[in-house]
Subunit: 324 residues, 2 copies
Amino acid sequence: MQKILILGGGGMVGQKLATHLATDGLNGDRDIDVTLFDMGFPPVSAPGAQVAGNVSEPGTMTRLVADKPDVIYHLASVVSGEAEKDYAKGWAVNMQPMWELLEALRALHEASGGSYVPKIVFTSSIAVFGGPFPDKIGDEFLSAPQTSYGAQKAICELMLNDSSRKGYVDGVSIRLPTICVRPGKPNAAASGFFSGIIREPLNGLEAILPVDDSVRHWHASPRAAVGFLTHAIALDTAVLGGRRALNMPGFSCTVAEQIEALRRVAGDDAVALIKRQPDPDIIKIVSLWPRDFETDRALELGFKAEADFDEIIQVYIDDEMKTA
Amino acid sequence: MQKILILGGGGMVGQKLATHLATDGLNGDRDIDVTLFDMGFPPVSAPGAQVAGNVSEPGTMTRLVADKPDVIYHLASVVSGEAEKDYAKGWAVNMQPMWELLEALRALHEASGGSYVPKIVFTSSIAVFGGPFPDKIGDEFLSAPQTSYGAQKAICELMLNDSSRKGYVDGVSIRLPTICVRPGKPNAAASGFFSGIIREPLNGLEAILPVDDSVRHWHASPRAAVGFLTHAIALDTAVLGGRRALNMPGFSCTVAEQIEALRRVAGDDAVALIKRQPDPDIIKIVSLWPRDFETDRALELGFKAEADFDEIIQVYIDDEMKTA
């Protein structure tokens, strides 16, 4: 029986992961016991034991891992926009709990005589990168974040890497592309419109496009994200050579190309629902983001994402609209 | 009157800096008030008010900055070998105090209505890099540390960068080469022999060489380090474009080339005092270190180091042996 703890299990990716685990198991292993931890859960939640709480409350992480989970997914965080607005909260939620988690796990590791070495997958972000960028960001490009969110993610990666190097845990940080098309309501992320301009028109609703059509960005679907999360557990981390933060694969395209993909999938009427309404704040934030990657390491390690934006839209239709 | 606080002011670099400040002022400004903070101080200390304490004791940083220093040098840390041996202590000394320092300064910044924005220079290290390396590490190479010390330094850089980006402080992290030739006794750093094989023979003493002659490394003198520290304060940080961690210039050479420089400066008798005594632990640690850099950014910004190893030896003779 594998005990799996999902921190941030109430969020969009956490719920998708829990649903996948309930249906398909973890890489085929169905003998699993899943606990979801979050501030709250959707009214109809994915399967798993629910624990409500706040990762930033001291002692929370220590209590959560007391029964020695075999696998810990750390997806819990304040989103980029909120971390930028509320500096203290961003650091309290996005950095300090990782330290507490790793210290709690080190204590358990030592108490077990070294036999307890849980797997950890941490969802980092392409926000660890800051410009100026090369045309494509390679696997050896520096982390120079230009947001608090990015700095916090980069710091968690370093903590997890060092704790893993020492053998207390066996961790991997996966730097997610922007997840698109996000289902449901927009969240506070400045990147929300990348999903909104597809999701709302597909559902017959107007969508606001706050940036220029020429903006290029890096995308993967929620289904791809779940694939990254499960594949990260299957990985033999010995081959990572001490570099446990990985840029995940994705698909790079401009907003104009997103819109043309939408037109191919859903026609001119859908595209007509996109309203251009430039927002200087969002334009500024987005201008600081990476646009394209060369993810050789992750591809060699077997991580997979969509090959074009049409496919990303199709995943939304298959996974979200057919069940509605 | 500029108030200058030197955390780690009792250490070798802190003492050199304090001596320089007492003699030449800070970039020519002699209207300065210097406070040195450290666990202890040499019997004959450099000038400056001495405060003894431990950076890792909660509340220490807050008390130290209560009188709003204009300039803070953060040089205090546990060395690489000790941080590797004592994981808890390394993180407690090399990471947590930086967070406390920045939070204390943010509180003072906010209480001042935003007018208090101290300059901070943090001594980071080339240990933020981990292999495999390119022949020369450029300014955009990733930080993938393979020691706890390197991870802690990289994390402090990220914290300082973000606090500076938000305007709470005005910080720069300078990644020092190995400082060579260190005067006095060896410290616990695994890099100690790089200095030892020069310093001991110059003083007529035997020195142990624990690695192969072919080992290449990256050096700068203590005098160059003091120059980096003062120049970092003179810098207009607006030109850094949000990347406030800088690889300092240095000189790359092999141990064999160090020894030939020693021969040119001090003759065969000096070289004969070097005893080869391979140490597998040190060989392993050193094999993980960077060997050479291309420090275009720092050079363009006006940072200066020695042009060859003969000059590095000469600095030791001029600064340490002529005053003896």
